[in-house]
């Protein structure tokens, strides 16, 4: 099947280096300390952060750090064919772990000892790149909750089909069987915190694809920064003197 037409257009009309349209909204869930909705094309994800608060399970309390917990769940209607089990299956557990490790690396946990931070991510629509959308949404939610972080973490995926590196794969391109590289970076420090890949890829091409994904991450980081800045300004002027 042809994923890149001879004119250089993908199945949904994008260019190979073009990302899908992103949209972010802060403050979707009023009960939570921080929350955000992040959309990448048709992929839509809600993240809610509860914390830092008292540890619920005393045995898990860490005396000099905050405990970070994360849960990833997909809605029944999020994928094309209905999912039987929204959570508890292996993919969800793995993604929960991935998000937790990524966010734990960037939260300054030593500033909040003996407390607990819960990150809940709910996928409303899945169209490829859910892992990345979840990490981006979690970053926004953590910033909304006022939790100190080392840096902004963003994530993006890239692949290689029809001998072309493609940025931000959607579901159809993802299930084509080609390689799928997901990268998460700390934008200011310029460090990679998450790197995952399926399938096979020659080493020199891998470097190109990874670089492409990193560029995508930086573009998302700019957008996220703008959203956060506008939100902060709005809260400040509303509050008044």
């Amino acid at each position: 099947m042809e994923y890149v037409s001879p004119e250089g257009l993908r199945l949904d009309g994008r260019r190979p280096m073009e990302m899908r349209q992103i949209r972010a909204e802060i403050g979707a869930v009023s009960n939570a300390d921080g929350s955000a909705v992040f959309e990448m094309g048709n992929t839509k994800v809600i993240a809610a952060v509860y914390g830092p608060r008292e540890v619920q399970n005393r045995s898990q309390q860490i005396n000099d750090q905050a405990l970070v917990r994360c849960e990833y769940s997909m809605a029944n209607f999020s994928t094309g064919d209905r999912m039987r089990k929204p959570k508890g299956d292996r993919r969800s557990t793995e993604i929960s772990l991935v998000i937790r490790q990524t966010m734990e690396a960037c939260i300054l946990t030593h500033l909040m000892p003996r407390s607990q931070i819960d990150i809940f991510v709910q996928v409303l629509q899945a169209d490829g790149g859910t892992r990345s959308a979840c990490i981006n949404a979690a970053t926004l939610a953590l910033a909304d909750a006022g939790i100190p972080m080392r840096d902004i973490v963003t994530s993006c995926s890239a692949g290689f089909l029809n001998s072309t590196p493609l940025l931000d794969l959607n579901y159809v391109e993802d299930s084509a069987g080609g390689p799928d590289v997901t990268v998460g970076i700390l934008t200011k420090l310029d460090k990679v915190t998450l790197l995952q890949m399926d399938s096979k890829l020659p080493m020199d091409i891998f470097e190109n694809v990874m670089q492409l994904a990193i560029e995508g991450c930086k573009a998302i980081a700019n957008y996220i920064r703008e959203v956060m800045l506008e939100n902060t300004k709005e809260l400040e002027y509303r509050r008044g003197i």
């Binding site: 909204e25 802060i26 403050g27 009023s30 300390d33 921080g34 914390g51 830092p52 608060r53 008292e54 905050a66 300054l108 909040m112 000892p113 003996r114 407390s115 910033a143 909304d144 909750a145 006022g146 939790i147 100190p148 972080m149 080392r150 840096d151 902004i152 934008t187 200011k188 420090l189 920064r225 956060m228 800045l229 506008e230 939100n231 902060t232 300004k233 709005e234 809260l235 400040e236 002027y237 509303r238 509050r239 008044g240 003197i241």
Partner: protein, 332 residues
């Protein structure tokens, strides 16, 4: 302008336009008043390095530069530079008046939830005993802790400070602190409540107590005279124990006779709704603004429930614009 944190209210077209205009005017006023530097995570804070700057909360050092770790506003006090976060959990300071809810009755102490990263601790020794005598707390006192405060009780107290192990301790030794009954508790983001000299407000006009906890818990309830525990004799004590809300044993009719009178309840609900509207719009809370909102709703003859509607919300935003512009004019 995107509707960030939308109000969850169905606004029609004209209301949306009016609200947008009011918020735009607020923004103009704010930018004229002070140029507050907003930063996001990992932004560099411009600092004059020769002065030897002190890095405060919300900042960290990276390659010799001062970098923000929070989204907020940069504040500078002499050589101290720090970032004040907006929507964050409560940051306790000694002497703050807070309202909390008891989560646990432990050995010689109560644990209270106060919207902080940990639960705060109120020691039995930091609390006045019911009979008012200053004495050593015995084992009997410890067993009777539940007769003073139980789980889920709402308590007003003052922050005593952090202990060396990092836990937050409170004290409730004065008459004005203690259990709060006969009212409702509201939760707002802590950044909307500024630290002032007075946090206890007795609104005489409505016979209502309004306590603005620095942690964002706001209590609105019937006015209760601060009882002087020292002047108590046996008769008074038994009377008070009878009138206590021991509702488990009271039958329905007896309970009904102890309900709050309707006029007071109306005032309580009006004030509570005023707080709700102001916090949903993100305006900072103090007594003048809250009472002004209540007065406006009374003068417009609004049903208490309509105070949470779209029209009143837009009117409050417009009123706030007028209030702030008149304040800035006064300052000049």
């Amino acid at each position: 302008m995107r509707e960030l944190r939308d109000l969850q209210l169905p606004l029609n077209q004209t209301q949306k336009i009016r609200l947008r205009r009011a918020l735009q005017q607020l923004q103009d006023l704010a930018s004229k008043a002070s140029s507050s530097a907003s930063v996001t995570v990992a932004d560099t804070i411009p600092v004059n390095h020769e002065d030897g700057v002190l890095k405060g909360h919300g900042t960290s050092e990276l390659d010799g530069e001062v970098v923000a770790t929070l989204c907020g506003v940069v504040e500078r006090v002499n050589k101290l530079v720090y970032v004040r976060a907006l929507r964050a959990r409560y940051k306790p300071e000694t002497g703050d008046i807070i309202v909390g809810r008891v989560t646990e009755v432990a050995q010689k102490r109560w644990r209270l939830e106060i919207n902080f990263s940990q639960d705060a601790i109120l020691m039995l020794s930091s609390m006045n005993l019911p009979d008012g005598i200053q004495r050593r707390r015995t084992a009997v006192d410890e067993l009777n802790m539940r007769s003073i405060f139980e789980e889920s009780d709402v308590i007003c107290a003052e922050v005593r400070g952090f202990q060396h192990d990092g836990s937050l301790h409170l004290q409730a030794r004065s008459q004005k602190y203690g259990k709060l009954e006969r009212g409702q508790l509201l939760t707002v983001p802590p950044y909307l409540v500024k630290r002032r000299k007075q946090h206890f407000h007795h609104v005489e006009k409505f016979a209502v107590d309004l306590i603005l906890g620095c942690n964002g818990f706001i209590w609105v309830g019937e006015h209760v005279e601060a009882r002087d525990n020292m002047v108590e004799d046996q008769d008074n004590k038994s009377e008070q124990q009878n009138s206590k809300l021991n509702t488990r044993s009271l039958r329905l009719e007896e309970q009904e006779s102890t309900y709050t009178p309707v006029e007071t309840r109306q005032s309580i609900c009006r004030i509570a709704n005023a707080v709700r509207v102001l916090s949903s719009l993100g305006f900072s809370l103090n007594v003048e603004v809250i009472m002004g909102t209540v007065e406006q709703s009374i003068s417009l003859n609004l049903d208490i429930h309509e105070m949470l509607g779209a029209e009143f919300c837009v009117q409050i935003a417009e009123r706030e614009v007028e209030r702030r512009s008149s304040l800035t004019k006064k300052r000049r």
